[in-house]
Symmetry: C2
Amino acid sequence: MTAIRHNVTVKVEPEKVFNAITTQQGLERWWAKQTTARPEVGFVNVFTFGKFRNEMKVSKLIPNKKVEWECINSIEEWIGTTISFDLEEKDGRTILRFSHSGWRAVTDTFAGCNYDWALFMKSLKSLCETGAGTPS
Amino acid sequence: MTAIRHNVTVKVEPEKVFNAITTQQGLERWWAKQTTARPEVGFVNVFTFGKFRNEMKVSKLIPNKKVEWECINSIEEWIGTTISFDLEEKDGRTILRFSHSGWRAVTDTFAGCNYDWALFMKSLKSLCETGAGTPS
């Protein structure tokens, strides 16, 4: 089992990052333009990129601290994996620790997704700091 | 031991990517503005970011296919690690497989560098495709 991990400092308070990673209005502005999401444990968020449909069940929500999703439908390599966002406040900024864990092997898809996740973390950072992200 | 891996498709032929990752004129336009480098096995490339000085010994060069560096001086966590770029031509484009291996632990520095390397891969891609990178 292996994991993708990205740490990013976002120059806003955790509450703003938490909203961007839990609400539909947030998620559709930095990740998938076509998003259905609710900040509610047990709800299945749906993120669609063309033919690529991701269903992510919200498995953990600790306000302004942590968000966790279980991937229940997606490409084969993603099914059963876990995505989490941990937020730590430091001097009015947020240290965001992103993880996509439970990968069964380090494949070309893993390395491609690792790159893509970093660009989406940059999009999330940009949305929080400037109001504009670069969703797909 | 663990590794950072990013796969990126660059819409140019491998020769252009190879030049960007081996020559001083290439490297200073997507990674460190302050670079001393030579496309020569055994040469120690030096990349300086403010107080952060990296010495990378060129350990492998296969024209248009592979570049490998051994990190001989840097921050403690980087010393002894290996950085490699593998290039594969496909339909006139280049599949770039980047790896930074030999990390002894998955730390906050690892996760921060993983994010940073992705942005530098994007900078390299941009330099090759458009002529402009975003070096530090």
